[in-house]
Amino acid sequence: MRQHDILVECSQLVKEYKGTRNKPVRAVHDLSFSIRQGETFGLVGESGCGKSTLGQLMVRLLEPTSGTVRYTNFQDGRGNRKQEKAMRKENQIIFQDPYSSINPRKRIGWLVEEPLIIHGIGKDAQERKAMVCSILKEVGLDDSYLDRWPRELSGGQRQRVAIAIALILNPSFVVCDEVVSALDVSVQAQVLNLLQELQEKFGLTYLFISHNLQVVSYLSDRIGVMYLGGLVEMGDTEQIYHHCLHPYTKALFSASVDAFDSVKEDLLLSGDIPSPSRSPSGCPFHTRCISCMKRCIEENPSMVEVSPGHFCACHLIQGMNT
């Protein structure tokens, strides 16, 4: 495992939205973790668990209600336009749907070049064009795409364009928000391969958000499992894959059917994911948990380091430890 310095660190991050009747909806709740330089941190969870919100908080698309996101490789630039711009250059985000994340009314060349213009990189149009061509080549597209419209491209090609746009500023940290979920299997594999190649080439750090445990466990060095706005388990991929502890993680593994692996443990969760606006008391998972105890209803378990680097928030574990 690559062991590097910490690149991004968030502590006690909370994001609340204004819900109906002014009742706040907690999208992200008291979340702390850090991402190391050069690694791929996989974030997995079902819809509404707040993983996308977290991704946007990490690149400051959203301002946290409380808590902080700290970048170690440059100064925090809140309120300072110049520093904020530097932050925007270093951190990038790629979205799920390549059909809506690319402006349909602009040509590919313009779209890829735009970040350079915003940040004033490149002497002239010529130089910028050269940069655009080289990044397009990196993502597997040639010069002929410069003058094409997004509508002429397939989903996979669009996602390559989106990656090119994100990488042309040579960022250090990239949030990939469900980047392959909308793609067909064969194209998904192409994009995953590309992401890995680029990471190696440019030394990128990824926050890889997905609902697909297979994809996450294939790509990530470390995995965090989210449920209703909070992390329930976090650790190295190996730890999570082989020794997951939280009942939710277990259920997730059981549910994400693999064409090859036989199911380890047939866990069928009952009921639906509660809406973030009506978050249950105590452990948020207790409404669906098969091993729910009385304590779980009353008290929200805190993250405990079970083994080095492996954290879990469950009363079952704490029961075992103490």
Binding site: A189, Y218, A251, A255, S256, A259, L268, L269, I273
Partner: protein, 326 residues
């Protein structure tokens, strides 16, 4: 075949074309398949492969612009394509039911879900009280809690999983011999997907409903189905029992598909992806193998000669790599 099973649905050499720019483009090309009673059959392929078009043709719901050129569809021995509109109407919802991908949009947002289920029963001859009773019992059967209250809720008040259950209840209220499920779990979360899958499996066993499952997810298929057809660009390239296909894929496309699936086991190695994309309707080759352009094992003959289906290792494959055994 060890048991004598009744064929519910037989599709024979189905062709479905669209007219684009004065030219017929094949969305479905020479597709044949058979579903037997009580069986779960999967139609697998990436988007744009013609899976849904095939299914809609079985319901007589293909778009008006579609043109069924050749082929026959038999349902319980009855030819469907030559039916009148009226006959289609009596068949749909009673003989063959269909559930769709998006549980969010497949229900009328302005009508109470109970009414929508009931409507299917009423339309096929159930009395008012009878329809209501079977609606409620069907809702219970698909695992919905508190059916009395749910009966009069609106779709937007329900979660995706519940809506999909409603749609299943609606499809099954008339106890049809065949259910066509078009990507029923794609829009759902994995834990919910798992619930729906096991529900479908249970219903298949309890009611004996044959299911034609359309999916792009080999994982789902492997856990649910008995028999798989792999479709590519409007043609069936390989079919056979599910374990055979997964463990001993023959067609390069099937192999590529399986290789593309990421998993922990493949960590730290590149995925075995297929280059390129599924060609769009207009850009499909008129002759030869449809997979030619993306195939890593292509040969000269692939370009101009369409491959025929051959039996190999206990299942069918249409590829020049496997010439017909004399």
């Amino acid at each position: 075949m060890e048991k004598e099973r009744k064929a519910i649905l037989e599709i024979e050499h189905l062709h479905l074309d669209y007219r684009i720019g004065g030219r017929f483009c094949h969305a479905v090309h020479d597709v044949s398949l058979t579903i037997h009673s009580g069986e779960i059959l999967a139609l697998v392929g990436e988007s744009g492969c013609g899976k849904t078009q095939t299914a809609l043709a079985c319901m007589g719901l293909q778009p008006e612009s579609a043109h069924i050129g050749k082929g026959k569809i038999y349902f319980e021995g009855r030819e469907l394509l030559s039916q009148s509109k009226q006959q289609w109407n009596t068949l749909r919802g009673k003989g063959i039911s269909m559930i769709f991908q998006e549980p969010m949009t497949a229900l009328n947002p302005l009508v109470k879900v109970g009414k929508q289920i009931e409507e299917n029963g009423r339309n096929h001859g159930l009395g008012k009280i009878q329809a209501r009773e079977s609606t409620l019992s069907m809702m219970e059967k698909v695992g919905l809690p508190d059916v009395g209250r749910l009966y009069s809720s609106y779709p937007h008040q329900l979660s995706g999983g519940m809506r999909q259950r409603i749609i299943i209840a609606m499809a099954l209220i008339n106890d049809p011999p065949l259910l066509i499920a078009d990507e029923p779990t794609t829009a759902l979360d994995v834990t919910i997907q798992k619930q729906i899958m096991s529900l479908m499996k249970t219903l298949n066993k309890e009611l004996g409903t044959a299911i034609m499952l359309i999916s792009h997810d080999l994982g789902v298929v492997s856990h649910l189905c008995d028999y798989v057809h792999i479709m590519y660009a409007g043609t069936i390239v390989e079919n056979g029992p599910v374990h055979m296909i997964l463990n001993k894929p023959l067609h390069p496309y099937t192999k590529g598909l399986l290789g593309s699936i990421p998993s922990y086991g493949k960590k730290d190695q590149r995925l075995d992806s297929i280059a390129g994309i599924v060609p769009s309707l207009e850009n499909r080759p008129q002759v030869g193998c449809q997979f030619y352009n993306r195939c890593t094992q292509r040969m000269a003959s692939c370009k101009n000669i369409s491959p025929h289906a051959t039996m190999r290792d206990g299942h069918m494959v249409a590829c020049h790599l496997y010439p017909e055994e004399a």
